[in-house]
Symmetry: C3
Subunit: 147 residues, 3 copies
């Protein structure tokens, strides 16, 4: 009896603990999500069209250098002008969207500036609070860049 | 004898290694602290009262949207004016403190500007080097936002 | 026979799984690199010599407070003036380099501004796209600070 029980214990140790250790290692790897995928969230908070153009050029450069990269641009407060339908940057923003960049406007900032979705470039995304969106993306492993 | 030793080995494997694997998994999970708690460190580095007011409004918006969030605001260099006792933003800073926001002034910046704690709003915290504080909070899993 | 096999299983469980669990724990710890080493990447993106001097002072303060810290300064777009051989900040940048700080100029920004390596301070490093360098350092666990 003792012999069989000990054999069972030995097997249980291998069968039960090996996958557990593997899961632990996987979870650990997941703690460094950037190793598997490049994801960057850019934050735009300034009312400066030269800066907007510079950032839009940077997005292209980043996409050019990296084979695969997800880019989100969260636009807050005075930065919102970049995403207005009548902005001088509208064409370049639409080009970036066509190239896969996701633009997100801060709803609180829009409300404070009396802007509605009709005032904005078609196809952009919206978040209630821009900084909460920035936080959530970072929590999901996106790298934060504040140009 | 062999039988008993092997039974002991089997049991040891289960009793010793199972908690070890569990600890490893917990440590891994701790590597992604944001999943369990929202913690944001905002950095204020500019001498711009309009920006200070905008940031203070953002703090309220973030607290309103998230059920639970810890917010720290580390104030460095030209940003220090925001935390001076005679600042126009003093009342709003005190309101934010009452709502749970922690403000931290950079001691090196204070020294460089000839400021003492007597010049500052009561109840704020102090760090020797503001950027070291920002680093430490990020190392502890706080999300970094630079408005 | 059963007795011996079970003894072997018990031993295998200890010998094989203990190192695996240890590796898992190490990988998990690596997911929080800051716990073991302080590494900070500063980003300079503005054409403002007062700000450059302020940042250079901050670097000294950070090095003074922390026993061990790796510091990289990635300089992009209008910030590039800080790293030009004829910049007023050139001496202080060289002092910081002598103190172990690594400066990295954005190659795309240099190209856009018609700058070559001959225009820059000797001994600085170069990256093709500055923001990709900032991303990679963050992915490797460096703390991001945008002064």
């Amino acid at each position: 009896m003792h012999t069989r029980y000990s054999a069972i214990f030995g097997l249980m140790a291998l069968l039960v603990l090996a996958p557990a250790a593997a899961r632990a290692a996987n979870t650990a790897a997941a703690g460094r999500p950037a190793a598997t995928k490049n994801r960057i969230v850019f934050q735009v908070t300034e009312d400066d069209s030269r800066k907007w153009n510079s950032i839009l050029a940077n997005l292209s450069n980043v996409q050019e250098e990296l084979r695969q990269v997800d880019i989100a641009v969260v636009v807050i407060g005075p930065g919102l002008g970049m995403l207005k339908a009548d902005a001088l940057t509208a064409n370049r923003v639409q080009d970036a969207m066509a190239a896969g960049v996701r633009f997100v406007a801060c709803g609180n900032s829009m409300h404070a500036q009396g802007l509605t979705k009709d005032d904005m470039i078609d196809g952009i995304a919206y978040a209630k609070a821009g900084y909460v969106e920035v936080m959530r993306l970072q929590q999901q492993g996106w790298v934060y860049i504040r140009p």
